[in-house]
């Protein structure tokens, strides 16, 4: 990994940790919601980052199918892996959030299940990539599968939107305590920055691996 990447990585991680620290300490607990709301400071940014990453996978898939340039395939490889990571994290956070509110670690709440379905769809594509040896076939097939699987992203967003409006006493963004809003925006920025860095690092890894595979 180049020096530039290492330094930028360190900065991104540092900011990310600071953001979380802010989420844990600075923002005052809301009067009728307990400190539990602090989970939101990591949950919402990760949700946004995961869906954005899967959308990058969609763009990369269309890019590869249109131009057959390897850069798109590397981006697809990176965004699938980072997306699944964020998706798994999202599910874990969701169930941790769920326990105090519903008394169970997992329940048929559309938000939880739709995230799990989204993650499983793209996890399947990672498995597909592992089981196909031909680089061109692997790229085209996983691109086609990613385009099909992307449908789960709006489906998840729709479930979250509908369910939040039904259950959550979540205060709309405006009325939220300014400190809480600041903490949330800070965390969103740092998680997004970290996600972009992870995508770049994984992109370079994919490029190196393909060079080794093709022996060029």
């Amino acid at each position: 990994m180049t020096l530039g990447m290492r330094v930028s990585g360190g900065v991104a991680v540092l900011l990310w940790v600071l953001g979380m620290a802010a989420g844990l300490t600075l923002a005052p607990p809301e009067e009728h919601m307990s400190d539990l709301v602090r989970i939101m400071f990591v949950h919402v940014p990760v949700a946004w980052a995961a869906m954005a990453t899967f959308t990058v996978a969609l763009v990369a898939s269309v890019g590869w199918l249109a131009t057959h340039r390897w850069g798109w395939d590397h981006l697809l490889d990176a965004s699938l892996e980072v997306g699944v990571l964020l998706g798994v994290l999202l599910s874990v956070q969701g169930s941790v959030w769920g326990y105090p509110t519903w008394g169970t670690w997992w329940t048929w709440d559309p938000r939880l299940t739709s995230v799990a379905v989204m993650v499983l769809s793209f996890l399947g594509i990672l498995a597909l990539r592992a089981f196909v040896d031909e680089p061109e076939k692997r790229a085209s097939w996983s691109a086609a599968a990613s385009i099909l699987a992307w449908g789960s992203v709006p489906f998840t967003y729709f479930c979250v939107k509908v369910m939040n409006s039904l259950h959550q006493k979540q205060t709309p963004w405006g009325a939220m305590h300014p400190d809480m809003l600041k903490a949330l925006l800070l965390n969103t920025a740092t998680i997004t920055l970290l996600t972009v860095w992870m995508l770049m690092a994984r992109y370079q890894l994919a490029r190196t691996e393909l060079r080794r595979e093709l022996g060029t």
């Binding site: 180049t2 994290l89 190196t208």
Partner: protein
């Protein structure tokens, strides 16, 4: 107080902990994999 459980902090910590563990673990795996494929000092 909402929800079943009164003491929220263990859950806040476990959510943050899970975040650090998963993302941290992935960062380490990226680091290890980039070193093992000889990408260590290759100027990209």
């Amino acid at each position: 107080m909402m929800g079943v459980v009164t003491e929220p902090w263990p859950f806040v910590w476990s959510a943050y902990g899970a975040t650090v563990v998963l993302i941290g673990g992935y960062l380490v795996s990226l680091w290890v994999r980039s070193r093992s494929t000889g990408g260590g000092d290759e100027q990209a």
